[in-house]
């Protein structure tokens, strides 16, 4: 903890350099964010007011659906338009060894000399939900560094990894052709949070049929009850077909992304921003609480209460309440 005192000054230097375009400083900041160092916290405090201008686009879908290839195809178009673009690509960490193989760059190689493309791989480091716990913060750093578009590619997801919808302004869910029947499309979960659903591998048999099924099944429910009508509305995703490997349909996807960015700035995207803000505050709050629990005085109490709960001499609710009381007593 001896480094805490110098962290704000070192963070300030790195932030200044990164915002001025120093890519190594930016990379080092992202490392600090991933490792949750004191420097990262100081840097994020400073960068947060600078962020909020980029369009954050989440790209999710099952493994092998073509997320990385689609990101590469988008990069080509976005760079042709001269916009600076960053990618955060998350791959899973091993639950057994903690190691990870980050292989998304394989499909995104063509931009070595282009300083307006910045690609960063992240290991999920034990976080479930399709992202790493620090992905939102990493996207904010890239946003503050001046990238106009930040593409957030999740790990290969299943049906319920909806976290990306809170991390992004616009969520793209990728599907591959013939991955399931119509019942798959009406299950709750990932498809409900999509702003755009993309059937990739459009050159494969069944792609158009899959898209037609999705269009039919994801159409808004008519005749909702008064109670349901009062609740948040499910999204009404546009369904597109792309072949990322050839680029077919990708210009239409980019146009749809840009449309969603403008039209939804005050509507859905605003609520996504609010959800994201809430998630960030809550995550930090629970981290802070956990830190507080590790304090000398509370650790002893915590361990004693846990032992009592383990022996069934105390119930877990009372134990939690006592810890909260002890924490409150400490503050005052």
């Amino acid at each position: 903890m001896a480094q805490d005192a110098t962290a704000p000054a070192r963070a300030h230097n790195l932030v200044e350099a990164a915002v001025a375009g120093d890519r190594l400083a930016l990379a080092r900041l992202l490392t600090a964010v991933e490792n949750r160092t004191p420097l990262a916290e100081a840097a994020l405090r400073e960068m947060y007011p600078l962020a909020g201008r980029a369009h954050l686009v989440g790209i999710t879908g099952p493994p092998g659906a073509g997320k990385s290839t689609l990101v590469a195809a988008l990069l080509a178009l976005v760079r042709a338009a001269g916009r600076p673009v960053a990618v955060v690509a998350v791959d899973p960490s091993s639950p057994i060894t903690g190691g990870a193989l980050l292989g998304d760059r394989v499909r995104m190689q063509a931009y070595a000399g282009d300083r307006d493309v910045f690609i960063r791989s992240m290991a999920s480091r034990g976080h479930a939900g399709g992202l790493a716990s620090t992905t939102t913060a990493a996207a904010a750093v890239l946003d503050a560094a001046g990238f106009d578009l930040v593409l957030i590619e999740t790990v290969g997801t299943g049906q319920s990894e909806v976290e990306v919808a809170a991390a992004a302004d616009t969520t793209v869910v990728l599907e591959a052709p013939e991955m399931g029947d119509e019942v798959q499309a009406i299950k709750a979960g990932l498809l409900e949070v999509a702003d755009l659903v993309v059937v990739n591998k459009g050159d494969k048999p069944g792609a158009l049929r899959t898209a037609a099924q999705l269009r039919a099944m994801l159409a808004p429910t008519v005749g909702r009850s008064a109670i349901a009508a009062g609740r948040p509305q499910p999204k009404r995703p546009e369904i597109l077909v792309t072949t990322a490997s050839t680029g077919d349909g990708v210009p239409e996807l980019l146009a749809a992304l840009d449309r969603h960015r403008t039209t939804a700035r005050d509507g859905e995207a605003a609520s996504a921003r609010r959800t994201r803000a809430e998630a960030q505050v809550r995550a930090i709050l629970s981290e802070r609480l956990a830190d507080r629990l590790r304090g000398a005085h509370l650790t002893a109490l915590h361990d004693a209460l846990v032992a009592e709960v383990a022996d069934h001499h105390l119930d877990p609710y009372t134990a939690a309440d006592r810890l909260l009381e002890a924490m409150a007593a400490q503050v005052t």
Binding site: Q3, R23, L24, A27, R28, L30, T31, A32, E34, N35, T37, L39, S93, S94, T97, G98, G99, A100, L101, L102, G103, R105, V106, Q109, Y111, A112, G113, F118, I119, R120, S121, A123, R125
Partner: protein, 134 residues
């Protein structure tokens, strides 16, 4: 932050099209608890240096079987130094004649791993020699 995973870039610069060895090593290091960025075949020195910078890796492992190491490796180490990453540990694996090893080391390579090297040897070497940063 002593328990954070060491981040390694495994890259195949040059034109040889054989990356089984690189993939086996990438997978092996994953199982040893490293975070491994794999970039695929046919990388230019610029691509390797850019990936190393953007990923802010601790180690760059270059796999070369084509015989072009005396051209490619010094270019990569020079680019890394130019972009302020002279603290990155650079290692080379593949078919490297013993006579070339001293010049590669002079160019900034920390270790050369030839055929027969085990995953454990590489992992232990990287754990002992990767730069420590906060």
């Amino acid at each position: 932050m002593t328990d954070r995973p060491i981040k390694v870039l495994i890259a195949k610069p040059g034109l040889d099209g054989h990356d089984r060895g690189a993939k086996v090593l990438a997978r092996g290091l994953r199982d040893e608890g490293f975070e491994v960025v794999y970039t695929g075949l046919r990388q230019t020195p610029e691509m390797v240096a850019t990936a190393a910078l953007q990923e802010d890796v601790d180690v760059v492992g270059l796999s070369i079987l084509s015989g072009a190491h005396m051209t490619l490796v010094p270019r990569i180490t020079k680019l890394l130094q130019e972009q302020g990453m002279s603290d990155v540990l650079v290692t080379v694996g593949g078919i490297i004649p013993d006579d070339d090893v001293p010049s590669l080391k002079e160019a900034g390579v920390a270790a050369v791993f030839g055929p027969g090297t085990t995953i454990a040897q590489v992992a232990d070497y990287l754990r002992s020699n990767a730069p420590t940063r906060d």
